[in-house]
């Protein structure tokens, strides 16, 4: 446990994955937009003020050992975080779902995910192609629909992948901002700011 300690003990988590965009507005009000892509996951995570230093110093040392140079894995998979990344569809099991990818930002379900009614995936569900990149579903996928549209162009090569879904997805991240800690009062910690983790690609 290292960066995972920060995620598991967060008092706030902000997740950003938007495009990098430039917009132009004409005198008549017509707006045009240009993107340069991006859509890389960025996590801004705040740790609470007040936990015991003596209880957490071992874990904090592990975090600082990684510093801003070492890539580590994080998951938002704590039971209490189920509402953040938990699967929202109607499948009783999300293991063994196979998808194929050829181009663009869509995947095709090729096996698994059998359902008689309801939704295979709902917008906002997190999916991961094998051990590759993580994507969010942007449109509901009904029980009889096999196309999954995700939030960014697929980074992986064309092929077939097994999905990790919901709390099982894993991000490889690099810490780009690491706040310093302060011991105050007696045996309590406060942090100078938020941790910022960026998806390592």
């Amino acid at each position: 446990m290292s960066f995972q300690y920060v995620i598991d003990n967060a008092t706030s988590i902000s997740i950003s994955k938007r495009k990098r965009v430039a917009q132009t507005v004409s005198r008549s009000g017509v707006t045009k937009a240009t993107s340069v892509g991006g859509q890389v996951y960025e996590f801004r995570v705040q740790l609470p003020t007040g936990p015991r230093w003596s209880d957490n110093r071992r874990l904090i040392e592990m975090v600082e050992a990684l510093d801003r140079t070492t890539i580590d894995s994080i998951q938002i998979n704590k039971a209490a975080h189920e509402y953040i990344t938990g699967y929202q569809g109607d499948l009783t099991s999300t293991s063994g779902i196979q998808v194929s990818y050829s181009s663009g930002n869509t995947l095709t379900i090729t096996s698994g995910a059998s359902l008689g009614s309801g939704y295979r995936f709902r917008a906002g569900d997190y999916i991961q192609l094998g051990l590759g990149s993580v994507y969010t579903v942007t449109e509901d996928v009904a029980y009889n629909d096999s196309t999954i549209t995700v939030h960014r162009p697929i980074r992986e090569n064309a092929g077939t992948y097994t999905l990790n879904v919901g709390q099982n997805v894993t991000w490889e991240v690099l810490c780009v901002e690491m706040p310093t800690w302060t011991i105050f009062g007696y045996d309590q910690i406060s942090w100078s700011g938020s941790f910022v983790f960026v998806e390592s690609l």
Partner: protein
């Protein structure tokens, strides 16, 4: 070639840089999110190419210079720069227009289009470390001069150096005769 983008409310643009290093290799990299093939050449993905400075398009051919900044990823970049004849390398920048949602190339005639064509005139390897801020960056900046600028460096007039005309002897004695005295009409 002019690209007709009038039917698109939004587009995604990415730059593709091709640098032909004499006696070494052709380096290709881009800020697209994954490796991409253009004309049978694979451009390496995001990471290496940090920025390309702005350019302006004019009706008249004019002298321009851009700076292409790349990072040390992969680390072979620095040795590629230091150990090869980077100065003088031909560099071409293409701009591709993509669908911002799917990331697929827009089906427009002439896409991707050429953006800049020049020759590397200088490079700078910057190793900036700000100890107080605890931040730093290592970049390679390639200064690229347009081909129009190179054409302006032509030699004006006519070259008359002997080295340019090794078989021409009519001027060989000029230097010896220069400032000599001649007694025109004097008895021998």
């Amino acid at each position: 070639m002019t690209l007709d983008l009038s039917n698109y409310k939004s587009v995604q643009t990415n730059l593709f840089v091709k640098m032909v290093v004499p006696g070494y290799a052709t380096l290709t990299f881009s800020d697209y999110h994954k490796d991409y093939d253009i004309g049978g050449v694979t451009y390496q993905a995001l990471g290496e190419l940090l920025s390309v400075t702005n350019t302006s398009d004019e009706l008249r051919a004019s002298r321009k210079e851009i700076t292409v900044v790349i990072s040390g990823i992969p680390t072979g970049n620095i040795s590629e720069i230091l150990n090869n004849r980077i100065k003088g390398s031909e560099l071409i920048v293409y701009r591709g227009f993509f669908d911002p949602d799917t990331g697929e190339l827009l089906p427009i005639v002439g896409n991707p289009a050429g953006k800049f064509h020049g020759v590397v005139s200088n490079y700078e390897i910057a190793d900036d470390l700000s100890m107080g801020d605890d931040t730093g960056e290592i970049t390679i900046a390639l200064n690229v001069t347009s081909v129009v600028e190179l054409l302006n460096n032509k030699v004006s007039g006519r070259r008359t150096n002997p080295i340019d005309f090794p078989n021409e002897a009519s001027m060989d004695r000029v230097s010896a005769l220069a400032k000599s005295n001649f007694n025109f009409g004097a008895p021998q």
